[in-house]
Amino acid sequence: MRVTPILLGVLALPLPMAAHASTRSDVAQLRAELEAMRSSYESRIAQLEKRLAESEKKENALAQNREQTPPAYSAPVADAAVMQAPSAPTTDVMPKISLVLQGGYRAEKDIANRTPVGFLPASSDTGSKRGFSVDESELVLDANVDPYWKGHATFSIIDGAANVEEAWFQSLQLGDGLTAKGGRFLSNIGYLNNQHPHMWDFADAPLMYQVMFGDRLSQDGVQVTWLAPTDQYLEVGAEIGNGNAYPGTSHPGAGDWTVFAHTGGDVGISSNWRAGISYVQARADNRKGTINDLNDVSADTYFSGKSRAWLADFIWKWAPNGNNHNQYFKLQSEYFHRNEGGQLDCSNNLASGGSCVGLTDNYTSQQSGWYLQGVYQFMPRWRVGLRQDQLNVGTVDLSGNAAYLPATSYKPEKTSIMLDYSPSEFSRFRVQWAQDRSIQNLPDNVLTLQYIMSLGAHGAHTY
């Protein structure tokens, strides 16, 4: 209210300047008018202040009497005002921050290389992790950058090492079903690939993902997706990246690219489904993998060549009347088929009693695998799950290296059952037992106890 007299003063400033060109009587007249305006405004301000005081008094009386006063009787706020001043600025802290804590206990045999036999491993750290352990804690930040872009980052933190799992920006305003994403992101191929471990229904990734991508395919590059303008869901997309994640290795140009298509819909109100098909092609230069040689000694292999893979995925979810609070069931399956062709070097490990002499020779493989899993929530908070993993070593042609590295027709497989309990939407405890027959002559029973705790912003989960 006090602003008004100041405003009037500012408005009055140019007036003396205009008065120079005018007569004294004009000035006097203007002064008089101004004085009149001022006094009229002052009386109106006084009136307004009085009314304000009265309404405050009324409001206090109303507040004491609140039980009898429905909240909606206050006049609704106009659209424009809402946009500028939302009623609840506390709802969306910018950015939304959440932290996921994971860890547990595992009992299994002590095996140095747990890579399924016949496959070139995705990482060199494939040993057993026994006893108590804290898995990576995930720190997630997510916010709209401005009206045009959204930003997201996921860091995994463990023992002095912070990993950038995801760091991307995504378009919001391209329209026509188009979305573009750039940075580091989890590839949209398959079904499970873009899910973080805390979203998994089992304590570990299926064997198929372990041998294909070392749990999951991450991309440093760009992604474009397009949603068809139909009521039937149909998404197609492509990615191109530097290929620095398995099965590729870092490239100055495009190291890998993917294409994928997903479709899905509802069946009645209780069921819905999604199915997809994806293709990944990557180039590898001296991709390192540690396996056991014919003398059963650890050997470093280096693969250079092309890796091409097809994936098919299917998921079906059921909940009575579409209400998944009390009960639901989901059936999920994925299949892959991969061809790799190029050169394989098995570096000399004779000194440690190994069989490799450092030969580089041709290498081709055609391998496949699948998993099928079902998860059933039989009552609120409680779920059971069963998963079957199967890999097919297929045809592997080691050429000259066949003299140093094992060849096999063994079919790695694994059967897992799990039971989990979620006290709330934000916490979960799991017990999982697996019969792991992925390593020839070394069957193992693996018991995992796991906890997952989500703190902070309410994360929205993908389908």
């Binding site: 009898q68 429905p70 909240p71 909606a72 206050s74 006049a75 609704p76 706020v77 106009a78 659209d79 809402v82 946009m83 939302p86 009623s87 609840a88 506390t90 709802t91 709209n144 009206p147 959204k150 995504q170 919001l172 391209l174 329209g175 026509d176 079903g177 979305t179 949603l227 068809a228 303008p229 139909t230 009521d231 197609v236 492509a238 294409v259 298509a261 479709t263 899905g264 819909g265 509802d266 109100i269 819905n272 999604r274 293709y279 979810k317 009347n321 579409g322 209400n323 998944n324 609120p380 709330s424 939407e425 934000f426 703190l455 309410h458 994360g459 929205a460 989960h461 993908t462 389908y463």
Partner: protein, 299 residues
């Protein structure tokens, strides 16, 4: 790259989408779909993401919802964090510029309204509390009236060519609504001052509107399922209080309210929580008719 060609070949084989003049509306909950239908009439084509049997807190961002979000001209939801678990995914993956946060096609019913039960402290130890306040506003017809007024403005903004029709529909709706509200309030007068127990804190606005008092909830904390222990605690808490009814939504498990009914004698009542769950509730008027009737007939 031949696979890419194949993919786009497949795409071009898709049937052409027929041109539709009606404004495509994606409603997160059926009550907002019904309200948009009242104001839009034949000018809108409404799709509701949830149904009466479903808990709007826990919906999955499933493929059919993504496809509908992609094609929507207007998205109307409750807001205030109710859809926090699924709406952000739909928006981010839809590739639809029109319905993104802050655009004219993005409409949150709770925006600009004074919400009840705004938490003083945000701590998940107190359950799944909504920072903005209790979002279940649809059970107070005054709230519906306030949303209708804003929605009328928004529809005219998005579709100015038909502004006069929206205004006409709104005037007609508002007139009938005011008359109906007066009737419900008259009918429900005997409910004033009654003590209520609810499954979830989902009926706050209904009690507030009709002057009833909530003396307990079956959920020990918002979003935490009742347990044997929490029910016993509730039973002790209710000692000496004359509870009028135990109220639940259709998607709540009936066992907890039936258990309490067996112990305190007060009737367990399932109230419609939105439009379309049962006969007579297929529009907003019917929704309140049934709600008031069921409360009155509880005894």
């Amino acid at each position: 790259m031949k696979y890419l060609a194949l993919l786009f070949g497949l795409l071009s084989a898709l049937p052409a989408v027929p041109a539709q003049a009606a404004l495509k509306v994606f409603a997160c909950e059926p009550e907002w779909g019904a309200l948009t239908q009242e104001l839009g009439g034949a000018l809108v084509s409404v799709y509701s993401a949830t149904m009466a049997q479903q808990d709007p807190h826990h919906i999955e961002a499933r493929p059919s919802l993504l496809a509908r979000t992609r094609n929507a001209d207007l998205l109307i939801c409750t807001g205030a964090g109710l859809e926090a678990g699924w709406l952000p995914v739909l928006l981010a993956q839809s590739g639809n510029a029109k319905v993104q946060t802050g655009q004219p096609g993005w409409f949150m019913a709770t925006d600009g309204l004074a919400l009840l039960e705004k938490p003083i402290k945000l701590d998940r130890a107190m359950g799944d509390v909504h920072a903005a306040g209790n979002p279940h506003i649809q059970q107070d017809p005054h709230m519906i009236a306030a949303v209708a007024q804003r929605l009328n403005q928004r529809l005219q903004q998005i579709d100015p060519a038909n502004a006069a029709t929206y205004q006409h529909n709104y005037d007609s709706f508002n007139q009938r609504w005011q008359v109906a509200m007066a009737r419900w309030e008259r009918e429900a007068a005997p409910l004033r001052g009654k003590l209520m127990v609810s499954h979830h804190k989902a009926f706050t606005y209904l009690y507030h509107w009709l002057g009833m008092t909530e003396v307990g909830t079956l959920e020990p904390l918002p979003g935490i399922d009742p347990s044997a222990q929490s029910l016993v605690t509730l039973l002790q808490q209710l000692k000496g209080k004359s509870v009028y009814a135990i109220v639940r939504a259709p998607y709540n498990d009936a066992r907890a309210s039936e258990w309490l009914h067996d112990h305190i004698g007060a009737p367990a009542v399932e109230l419609p929580f939105t439009i379309g769950g049962e006969s007579g509730t297929d529009n907003l008027f019917g929704f309140f008719d049934v709600t008031v009737k069921r409360l009155l007939e509880a005894h």
